[in-house]
Amino acid sequence: MASGYEVKDYIGHHLTNATMCSTDNGIAFNEACADAGFFAIHLDSMGWSIGLGLVFLILFRSVAKKATTGVPGKMQAFVELVVEFVDDNVKSTFHGKSALIAPLSLTIFVWILLMNLMDLVPVDVIPKISGIIGEQFFGIDSHHVYNKAVPTTDINVTLGLALGVFVLILFYSLKMKGIGGFTKELTMQPFGHWAFIPVNFILETVTLLARPLSLALRLFGNLYASELIFILIASLGLAQLPLHFAWAVFHILVLPLQAFIFMMLTIVYLSLASEEH
């Protein structure tokens, strides 16, 4: 709620990451890191993202360990449902043979979905609890305790994922086509004449770089916007209830969809990278 301080501050507080950096006076946090530049780290993004990743891996690993080939239990049935869903999508899009693509897609889909689902936690819950803990145990003013719980609203997180995919795109391009083939693809398309090599190179490089960027920015933009609107709704007072409900219901669709899009585009990009045109 926006009681006590301005709505602008309220929104700003909710959209600020808990930051840690190393300064001349040792390790510093939050406001002290304002000019740390690249060498700062978002503790909340990292914590939530790795925590949710572990939730995914531990859950799936525990099912995988005692997976039975007979009649599956409910948990195993659910996990297999997800696995088969991902596997179907991979098989229908990626025609090569790869031991990496399917588990990669599964990780991307479930991990991003879990991170996105944090969006449905009421926006005040986690900052409030964090504020109380900060005040009680560390003696910090709760206005200076930050905890942004949706990792995918942090461009670093989405860009990190997209860069991982980009590395794989380059890897598959080089592996499947060789350096010569990849260079040829970058320089002799779309115009197959030597005179167009610079133009081709610029076009193809932009195309190549646009892939991870679009992946990262799409996910970040969608989640950031939806989180921002959740916060705006939350600052409305009592009127927030129906609005919040409607927006949350809408996000039952949006959040899995964004995770699915990220996964499908990853498969498509890797499929393009490993196929001859």
Binding site: I41, S45, L57, P72, E80, N156, G164
Partner: protein, 156 residues
């Protein structure tokens, strides 16, 4: 919104998670799924086979039933024929026996009658002779007239 070390951290976490997933999560799950798919496929095939077997067995049964029925009908037919034959034979034999017995009876009766006749004749002749002897006691020698008596006896 400016990129910082979080990006690197996320990249590393991503790589670690994907490798873990690739090594320890995906293969056992996929193996379980594929194994089950195979089992189900085998089961379906087995059930198809069983169904076919059943159909075959049923058609066999129907055929055998038909054969058995035909055989049974034949046996019954034969039995009936044989029974009829037996009855007929027995009847005939009975008839023959009866005829024989009757004939025997007749013959016996005839013989008895003949004997009785003979006896009677003898007695009558004896009586006649006795009567004649008494009548002609004095004047006729029984021996001299015996040829006449003989003649009479033959006429009886």
């Amino acid at each position: 919104m400016n990129p910082n070390l979080t990006l690197v951290g996320q990249l590393i976490a991503f790589a670690v998670f994907v490798i873990f997933c690739m090594k320890y999560v995906w293969p056992p799950l996929m193996a379980a799924i594929e194994e089950r798919q195979k089992k189900i496929a085998d089961g379906l095939e087995a059930s198809d086979r069983a169904e076919k077997d059943l159909e075959l067995a049923q058609s066999n049964i129907a055929e055998q039933m038909k054969d058995a029925k035909a055989q049974a009908a034949e046996i019954i037919e034969q039995a009936k024929k044989r029974a009829n034959q037996l009855v007929e034979d027995e009847t005939q034999r009975g008839h023959a026996e009866r005829e024989k017995i009757i004939a025997q009876g007749h013959a016996e009766i005839e013989a008895e009658r003949n004997r009785a006749k003979e006896d009677l004749r003898k007695q009558v002749s004896a009586l006649a002779v006795a009567g004649a002897e008494q009548i002609l006691e004095r004047e006729i020698d029984a021996n001299a007239q015996s040829d006449i008596v003989e003649k009479l006896v033959a006429e009886l």
